[in-house]
Symmetry: C2
Subunit: 338 residues, 2 copies
């Protein structure tokens, strides 16, 4: 299996990307196709003693920066590491793609270069959010600020496939993010989506209130990209602020510093639960090949974990299963209308 990896995406590129690639080759047994400036990759690997065994390089002279508009990936930055990597994926030079680059550019690039699965209205970006006992998968987290009900239903179907095939959950539960449990709650989007989800081939368990999702109310939370992005960032913000406050309590005086040392392993475990590097990347769903968006500040571990997700997506034939489920839904809808 060959994973295409954007060597120049993210805050810590190319060093951490190359280190992550080396880890992935060793631990996961995959081959890596690096996209990026060939000379710079060779130089970075050489200087840092990174082996490029089982890796090939696709030369891409341009770098897409955070200041570039997402659309530039298919215009002025068509020779960037991101665009060149996605083109290689579209041309079947690799089985899946990983980038820690700009989210918007990954979404636009994948949609226009690799293209959507037949029948998929919009690609959605999903993210694992830490909850009490594990994580839940939230989507869309920002690819589509405004959504229609049919889009949310497709998101639910695609995420269910992902949780089955990649996470190994037998019958993942789906909740619709809403401001109350009753099906009449929320706006038009929520009420119409609720009705559609009841008939969809997913394990829909009803509305999920924001208060309950951190406790692990369901495996998949479906919402529009605006609200999803707010949930993602607010969870991070509240947890971060609370960690900061707890830290201040522990740093207050001599006695509290001793107390801190006594519970340090537990606190470290809690912190690592919230760490994106162990959680993994965000799968972009609805594209013809598996695409994983790693966190912008990914270190080597995060990159390796994103490559693992890509590998599992290929092995589980996530794309084939999504395609099959959406076809079945379309057929059912058609026979219903006849």
């Amino acid at each position: 299996m060959k994973i295409v990896l954007d060597a120049f995406g993210g805050d810590n590129a190319p060093l951490e990307i190359l280190k992550g690639a080396e880890m992935a080759v060793k631990e996961l047994g995959v081959e890596i196709l690096l996209s990026g400036d060939a000379e710079a990759i060779g130089k970075c690997a050489g200087e840092n003693g990174i082996s490029l065994a089982h890796m090939d390089i696709l030369h891409a002279p341009d770098i897409l920066t955070m200041h570039d508009e997402p659309g530039e990936v298919i215009k002025s930055k068509a020779n960037s590491s991101l665009a060149v990597g996605l083109k290689a994926l579209a041309e079947e030079q690799g089985d899946a793609f990983v980038s820690a680059g700009s989210t918007g550019a990954v979404v636009v690039g994948a949609t226009f270069i690799v293209k959507r699965i037949k029948g998929v209205k919009r690609a959605a970006l999903a993210s694992f959010i830490p909850a009490k006992n594990g994580h839940f998968l939230l989507l869309d987290i920002g690819a589509n600020a405004e959504c229609r009900p049919e889009m949310l239903v497709q998101f639910a179907v695609m995420a269910s496939v992902y949780m089955k095939k990649v996470q190994g959950l037998e019958n993942p539960t789906v909740g619709l993010l809403n401001i109350g449990a009753e099906e009449t709650k929320g706006g038009d989007l929520q009420r119409q989506t609720y009705a559609l989800l009841q008939k969809a081939p997913v394990n829909f368990i009803g509305n999920a209130e924001a208060r309950d999702i951190p406790a692990g109310f369901c495996d998949i939370v479906v919402t529009d990209g605006f609200t999803g992005n707010v949930v993602l960032k607010l969870t991070e913000g509240v947890a971060g602020t609370m960690f900061g406050m707890v830290k201040e309590i522990f740093k207050a005086n001599f006695k509290s510093k001793i107390a801190a040392s006594m519970v340090m392993p537990g606190l470290k475990g809690l912190k690592s639960k919230m760490d994106y590097a162990t959680i993994g990347g965000a799968p972009l769903m609805g594209i013809r090949k598996p695409v994983i968006k790693a966190h912008g500040s990914s270190n080597a571990l995060a990159i390796k974990n994103a490559v693992r997700q890509a590998k599992l997506s290929v092995e589980g034939d996530v794309i084939g299963a999504i395609s099959a489920d959406l076809s079945k839904m379309a057929e059912a809808k058609q026979s219903e209308q006849q």
Copy 2:
């Protein structure tokens, strides 16, 4: 000054409401007009040794339950403690109103019985959300699941008045909840509201990202009622889940239990920061008289604090100031169009 108080609203009515009323009379020097079943109020006060000095009772035989639709407050439940109290407010028998009853019913009842301030498109419910150094005011938190840009601008104006007059902030900062800092981010609602807020008579400091608001990015966060409700409940959910996790770490073994005892005062302080009883009630903005919605599970302290907010709203003439600011805005708009 006389505050109308719904004696039968909330999970702990009437006992905690009456206790809170007694505290308010003693500590705040207000008079209280209790709405509710007169016999039950007398009995509860007598059995619990609560003095009803400086209080009058408005008999209201019916009780509005959480199972009643909000609209019933002006239909089949027009003799409920909530409806009778709001009617008394509309008829100027009191200066402000406090209820811990159903949020939906308070919004509907206040809107139809007391009515909106001239020019106000929709009443909005605001809530104080704990942040790193104090609290920020978030609105709308659920009175209007779907909003138009002009509504959000009015929310910003009303909340600014409240923060000035009741909280004593000189020039409260306003942020528009959005999924990025740039003014092009978000959907139509956010982009249009951004443009309008730049011209509005408020201290608008731009888009507020969900990641930054718990750290105290701005004093007022404006958003639609759907997103606001999600932010309110998710903050509660994430904080609650994290408290639970920290508690488990401290309960793990003998050593961690000792550590817990060493930092207990600090942890208690953190917990009380997140406690609605000390934070106070949610002001319903845009109604002709001050209306405060106390938390459904309010205890006596929370009720007293909600009465204090009502008192400060009257003393600061919040309604007069909102009315004046909205008139000025309407005039400015008119002269702009001429």
